[in-house]
């Protein structure tokens, strides 16, 4: 087998982990609150700027900056739900998507206003691991592992804790759960905070691999939505599978042709798959 192709496949696996983590948070919100945060990738961007700022300008240790960013984006998620989603929960679902679209515009241009369009780098260089003939970026491996840990943590939280059970229950039947004494409003707020926190975690991992700029959200946003839908609404496991399928397409096609063509194929595949399996690739 071609050694460079193998490298591309490995990088695809790493990217898959990251995309899975991104899709996870969005999927949680999509599944529980039935709202698409179209500004999700912009929350990640905000987190990346927070880390950049705290680490580079205020010289906070990187891990502390990351923790602060996770908390900050989690808080942002909560506020986003409280201020923007909650007042229009009762109106047509598409309105909620559009309102978060306004937030997308706001975050993107506010970042431009504050930081300009420069590409900024946190300046942390992680070593490259050599596995035989294959070079593997440590930053990517770290992102992959952290994404898996994050996913596992979310799974355990949802499956094993009382709160997690309530969240899963409400995603299955929001009316009945209200009658059973579950405070729907509180669950939504907690879910939004967790979704934001996952975006913050993704920001910590992305900032090690990519430069921050106001439009970075547009690079990851669309593909994340597609992964979510392909995995099936609210289906965490499906989301992870879809993330790895998409990332392999991007990696392998990108290796043979170009990055743009690989994304084109990924989006075309999404359109075809949603027409064949509208409820997700794992739906029966």
């Amino acid at each position: 087998m071609d050694i460079y192709l193998l490298e591309a496949v490995m990088n695809g696996v790493m990217l898959g982990g990251l995309l899975a983590l991104l899709a996870l948070g969005l999927n949680l919100i999509f599944g529980v609150i039935d709202v698409v945060w179209i500004c999700y990738a912009e929350l990640v961007m905000a987190g990346m700027y927070a880390i950049y700022w705290l680490h580079v300008f205020y010289a906070w240790p990187f891990l502390l900056a990351c923790a602060a960013a996770i908390a900050l984006v989690a808080l942002f998620g909560l506020v986003l739900h409280r201020l923007i989603i909650e007042p229009i929960l009762g109106s047509a679902p598409i309105n909620q998507l559009l309102a978060t679209g306004g937030m997308l515009f706001f975050l993107q241009s506010f970042a431009t206003l504050l930081f300009g369009t420069d590409f900024r780098n946190v300046g942390i260089r992680l070593p490259v691991i050599e596995l035989g003939d294959i070079d593997l970026s440590f930053a990517r491996l770290l992102a992959f592992i952290a994404a898996l840990v994050g996913a596992a943590g979310l799974y355990l939280f949802l499956a094993r804790t009382y709160l997690g059970t309530a969240i899963r229950a409400i995603s299955q039947d929001r009316e009945i759960m209200g009658l059973m004494g579950v405070d729907q409003r509180r669950i939504y707020l907690i879910t939004s905070a967790i979704g934001g926190g996952l975006a913050g975690l993704a920001a910590c991992l992305l900032v090690l691999q990519y430069d921050v700029h106001p439009f970075i959200g547009l690079t990851f946003g669309p593909i994340t939505f597609m992964i979510c839908v392909l995995g099936g609404l609210g289906n965490m496991f499906g989301g992870v599978i879809a993330a790895f399928i998409m990332s392999q397409i991007i990696a392998i096609v990108g290796y043979y042709f170009s990055v743009e063509i690989s994304y084109v194929l990924a989006f075309v595949l999404f359109i075809v798959l949603i027409l064949i399996r509208p409820r997700g690739i794992l739906a029966r």
């Binding site: 679902p93 515009f105 993107q108 547009l218 084109v264």
Partner: protein, 326 residues
Amino acid sequence: MTDTRIAAALGLAALVALPFVLPTYFLHIVIQVLLLGLIYTAWGFMGRFGLVSLGHGAFMGVGAYTSALLWNLYGVTPWLGIPAGMALAVLLALVIGYPCFHLKIVGHYFALVTLALGQVVALLIIAGRDVTGGSLGMTPRAVGTSWLAVQFQDRTQFYFIALALWLAVLGVRYWASHGMRRAALEAIGEDETAAEAAGINVLSEKVRVFVVSAAITAAGGSVFAQYIMYLNPETVSGVGISLQIVFAAIAGGMYSALGPTVGALLTLSLNESLRVLFGTSFIGAANTIYGVLLILFIIFMPRGILGVVEQVLRRFRPPPQTAPAE
């Protein structure tokens, strides 16, 4: 009714007189308002019946690049290039729309499918950089003033082209929003299953609206690029412009005939005044305000500016004999 007719006639007379009294700079803005306004109006064809497309940039891009490439590479006049772009957009709308509506893909899902479509077109334009210039964009080959090339040194000709197109789109909207067709589409927007049961061919109505909207958007994108004389995957295609179309239409009020045009006026004048006031040192200011406004609009006045204006006007008017449609 006669009141409205007189107002319309006066408005039209004012619009015809406009290029002779307006300074060039303002005429430049008005031409853009008309061209973008007609694209936003076309989006509203679908939007007001609950079909939210987040990928209208795809049709704009297809229209703009088809006519510009035909002109640059083969010297084909935009008079043929624009219909060619419209035909391609129609084809694209059919390929996406038919299976989507057949399988009852609506709401979030339809929005995301169109978002993917917008990405596909924008990425193909970037990937075809040998021909399209990629992210750097391209300019149609300039030949000075020529009707054949649809290029004019004087803005007045362009103004009348834009005005004619804009009026034609309003005409299409008027035609589509009266009688049975509007009733059918409104019924579909409210409850598809019930509409189907009432004997409406939901599938063909939706496909028709989508196709008409796509064709007009392609034509608008093409003429807009022809006017600006610059095409860039960011400005005529992709997520950014697709969302801009959606929000301008909503802010202006997609349920009113002139709403999307008001949206175009609002966004362009906001952009321009901030640019004039603060210069380029304040990049992003316009869109920051814009983003906040959009959130407020969707929460507090989802029917947009004109929707609210109409509501207020209705309050001061004696109730008409027949019940109002909206």
